[in-house]
Amino acid sequence: MGPSELTVALAESDPTVGFRAVLGLRRLAERIESRQVALARAQGWSWQQIGDALGVTRQSVHTKHGKLS
């Protein structure tokens, strides 16, 4: 799908559905982040490196995902 198709779909959708999609994307992003952090840890990344990649401190990554590993 190209960018123009997404624009069309956004313009046509009902705001109720559109807002749900916004939140759905956030939830999806969290799930992807969780999975990627687990993957990075399995590959030997330090919390510092993961924090750098995500643009947050290592403490905040560890607080959020520390239970994973």
Binding site: M1, E5, L6, V8, A9, L10, S13, D14, T16, V17, G18, F19, R20, A21, L23, G24, L25, R26, R27, L28, A29, E30, R31, I32, S34, R35, K67, L68
Partner: protein, 176 residues
Amino acid sequence: MTAGSPWTAAGSAYHPWTTYIAAREEARRRGDRKVGTEHLLLALLSEPDLSGVLDVTIEEARAALDALDLEALAAIGLDARLDLPPLPSTPPAELPRKPTFRAVLKGRLPMTPTAKKALEASSKGTRRGRAQPGTRYAAKNVLAALLELERPDPAAELLARLGVEPAAIRERLARV
């Protein structure tokens, strides 16, 4: 009531923080950063005081929420196969029945304004304000507050999706 528990008023086994913790774990599981009304509803499905009031399993409710998300993403043109497994969280069976300060504060997530209001309704019809000695809480007040909500509130959307009629639940709730 547990002696020494700061949360539980005499004669009342229910405390809204039990619901908060269960709701927060549902939020975490879904990847939400805030505890919303739909999470409170999921939490109340496992509330013993309300058994038999809501004729829905937690699995059905979770699946309904996931389906709503995938449909919404599809509606804006995103591939519904982007679905991913839920995040790690504490399952309802392992949550404390009587929450401690520590359990509430550990891994806490903020609530949406509507969720906060609904949870505060737990002490409706009793003494107002914060947990004073003698404040009585009831799970059914929280559910009643959730049933009042209208779409597009997430709890109302979920109930509609599940085909649950708020009026029918209110009737059953009156008999609890």
